[in-house]
């Protein structure tokens, strides 16, 4: 089962290396990782997706907690979380196929970022499922390159 950990860390040099090092030496696998500063410039947030099938998530969070620069860890409840990823996809197109690719992009509310003679670059935002569905549809046209961010997630506000 995939878990999304939202980790608040002190915004200091070497913090990412400590976290990455911890994951590798304890044998935990990172599926995705996104880092950025928060509303407080001294604090950064890392959103880490891990597969807890092999290692109990509790060990992962406890070990993370031992790092001095880690302030807070939240194991986000998928029911109460909104998560998004962003993907940039460069697809080969020519005059004949361009229209069809643009149609697919529109259905996914993706944006065309760049049009070249032989390719089209699309930006899509959404859940992992949506991004993968779009990629599936684009693949037959020839995907030249995909660049994906890690997942970022936020807890829903109270109802």
């Amino acid at each position: 089962m995939k878990h999304t950990l939202s980790v608040l860390v002190e915004n200091k040099p070497g913090v990412l290396a400590r976290i990455a090092g911890l994951f590798s030496r304890r044998g935990f696998n990172i599926d995705s990782l996104a880092v950025g500063i928060t509303e407080d410039p001294d604090v950064s947030r890392m959103t880490i997706t891990v597969d807890a099938a092999e290692h109990p998530i509790e060990q992962v969070t406890k070990q993370l907690h031992k790092l001095i620069n880690v302030i807070k860890i939240t194991d986000l409840d998928p029911e109460r979380t909104v998560a998004r990823e962003l993907s940039l996809v460069k697809v080969s197109t020519d005059a004949k196929t361009r229209g069809e690719v643009m149609q697919i992009a529109e259905i996914f509310r993706a944006r065309i970022l760049d049009v070249g003679k032989k390719s089209l670059t699309i930006e899509v935002t959404g859940t992992t499922g949506k991004i993968e569905a779009l990629e599936q549809l684009l693949r037959p046209h020839g995907v030249v390159e995909i660049v994906r961010t890690g997942r970022v997630a936020i807890e829903r506000g109270g109802k």
Binding site: G14, R18, R25, Q59, I68, V70, I71
Partner: protein, 561 residues
């Protein structure tokens, strides 16, 4: 004030009076400041020695040990010592010089990324980028190293930061939002633990080094006595519970006593405190204390249920939690279950499976040397060890009665640890007799520190149990590898007594059993560094032994069955 002087001020502010180290290019400014200071600096002969001395000093005194090395090779020579301190949770500060800040990342002369190299083996580390950060970094580092579950902290300081002249402003208040060790145990959990203990018929306490770190030996003794619970300790926990008490089971695990291993296997309640269910203790995890309800008290939440599932976890300081449990048990109205029948069983195991060894005529038995050291020192020496057979005999055949009197590399198993650790221990506790039990293999790994001991007149007694083998590996080869002694025979060996004399220490070679006690007495009385080379029976084994992967009640050898 220069950065180097600020470092000295920061060390003093942390209460440091002694440091261990060796200078080099990138710490010349620091050593220049040391020259005028009243800090005691012990010059070692190899940086690994400095790290182990700081470690031994810390374990003997409970204070944070400090070692210093230059950049590059000086820093990397500390690495084994830092890893050792990390595995055994010793409070230690390692200060390293670093290439000038504008040269970092350019593969400058003697540049090594020591914060990167040591990242997996430190509690925390700092690379100082601004001179004005020095007081804050030192204050944080000492706080982090010595509180919670202690551990080593590395402070890497580029040479230009040591030279820069700025005003000294002492560190302000600590601000570590991500570091708040839990000291007080949860009351509800403490009550559940007390209830479970009161309901147990066959309880055992399994105590580790955390009891010594927390200074919880009185609370441990009170709990054991109050409820009549037998106590076994880990290697790191030796001294946490007096072995001359009837409730003591000695050490458990791979080379534990038969009765400790049987008691743990058959108990209905296991109270682990300040111990981490390490593989050398548990043997086969699936059968470890299989019928027991398990309580685990530890400072480090990550240790709880890491290896063995725990029924009642309590995060907190061992002293606080054990004290709380004793208080709860005293309040209980219902009479607790009696453990008399269980104690009878434990006594029967003790009588049936005592530690013993066969005396071979004409040989000095290594166990006998330990027994004599125990007798002559009245179990009151600080005993340090290297790693291997002699280490296990020191665990088993010495009566450990006081905390901080047994200093050994438990987690990392570092050969070469004992001698420098003994020097550090003696520096910290000059009032104590300090004895290093070494093997002929391991002693040679830091033999150069004889110069340090002689130079500063640090009277440590080294007792080499010389069997001409890398004995523990030879034992495995004998038992599990068809006696193929691949590279464990040390056929080329120096005359250790002559080496000692050459360094200016007292050296003796003992080949006859009748000379053992006299040699020990002479060395202790000499009040100068001494090396006693005991030629012991070569192919003696450490028993009992639990073969790797077996349950701890499946012991071979050494206990009558």
């Amino acid at each position: 004030m220069k950065g180097s002087e600020i470092i000295i001020e920061s060390l003093k502010a942390a209460g440091v009076d002694t440091i261990f180290g060796l200078p080099g290019g990138m710490v010349i400014p620091l050593y220049d400041a040391l020259y005028d200071s009243d800090l005691r600096h012990i010059l070692v002969r190899h940086e690994q020695g400095a790290a182990h001395m700081a470690d031994g000093y810390a374990r003997a005194t409970g204070r944070t040990g400090v070692c210093v090395a230059t950049s590059g090779p000086g820093a990397t020579n500390l690495v084994t010592g830092i890893a050792n301190a990390y595995m055994d949770s010793t409070p230690m500060i390692a200060i390293t010089g670093q290439a000038r800040s504008d040269l970092i990342g350019t593969d400058a002369f003697q540049e090594a990324d020591i914060t990167g190299i040591t990242e997996p083996i430190v509690k925390h580390s700092y690379l100082i980028k601004r001179t004005e950060d020095i007081p804050r970094v030192f204050k944080e580092a000492f706080y982090i190293a010595s509180t919670g579950r202690p551990g080593p902290v590395v402070i890497d300081i580029p040479s230009d930061m040591q030279l820069e002249d700025i005003g000294y402003k002492p560190a302000g208040r600590l601000n570590l939002p991500g570091y708040k060790p839990t000291l007080k145990g949860n009351m509800k959990q403490i009550r559940s633990a007390a209830t479970a203990i009161a309901a147990a018929e066959r309880p055992v306490i399994y105590a580790g080094g955390g009891v010594i770190t927390a200074g919880a030996e009185k609370e441990l003794l009170a709990l054991a006595k109050l409820m009549k619970i037998p106590v076994t300790t880990t290697l790191m926990g030796l001294g946490a519970f007096p072995e001359n008490n009837d409730l003591s089971l000695g050490m458990l695990g791979m080379h534990g006593t038969g009765y400790a291993n049987y008691a743990v296997t058959h108990c209905d309640l296991l109270l682990g405190v300040g111990a981490r269910f390490d593989d050398r203790v548990t043997g086969k995890i699936a059968t470890f204390a299989r019928g027991a309800k398990k309580i685990h008290i530890d400072m480090d939440p990550a240790e709880i249920s890491k290896n063995v599932p725990i029924d009642i976890p309590i995060v907190g300081d061992a002293r606080d939690v054990l004290g709380g449990i004793v208080a709860e048990l005293r309040k209980l109205k219902r009479r607790p279950k009696q453990t008399a029948a269980w104690m009878d069983q434990v006594i029967a195991w003790k009588q049936k499976h005592p530690l013993h060894y066969k005396d071979f005529k004409g040989s000095i038995m290594p166990q006998y040397v330990i027994e004599e050291i125990n007798r002559i020192s009245k179990s009151d020496a600080i005993l340090c060890t290297d790693v291997g057979q002699h280490q296990m005999w020191s665990c088993l055949f010495y009566t450990h009665i006081k905390p901080r009197h047994f200093i050994s590399s438990g987690g990392l198993g570092t050969m070469g640890f004992g001698f420098p650790a003994a020097i550090g221990a003696k520096v910290g506790r000059p009032d104590k007799i300090v004895i290093d039990i070494a093997g002929d293999g391991s002693f040679q790994m830091n033999i150069q520190e004889l110069a340090t001991a002689v130079c500063y007149d640090i009277p440590v007694v080294v007792c080499i149990l010389n069997n001409g083998f890398l004995g523990m590996v030879r034992q495995w080869q004998e038992l599990f590898w068809n006696k193929r002694y691949s590279d464990t025979v040390i056929s080329c060996q120096p005359d250790f007594a002559a080496v000692a004399e050459a360094y200016g220490a007292l050296g003796m070679t003992i080949t006859d059993k009748k000379d053992v006690s006299d040699a020990i007495r002479t060395a202790i009385k000499a009040r100068r560094p001494a090396v006693l080379d005991f030629h012991v029976r070569a192919e003696e084994n450490v028993f009992p032994m639990v073969p790797a992967g077996k349950s701890i009640d499946e012991m071979i050898g050494g206990h009558r069955t």
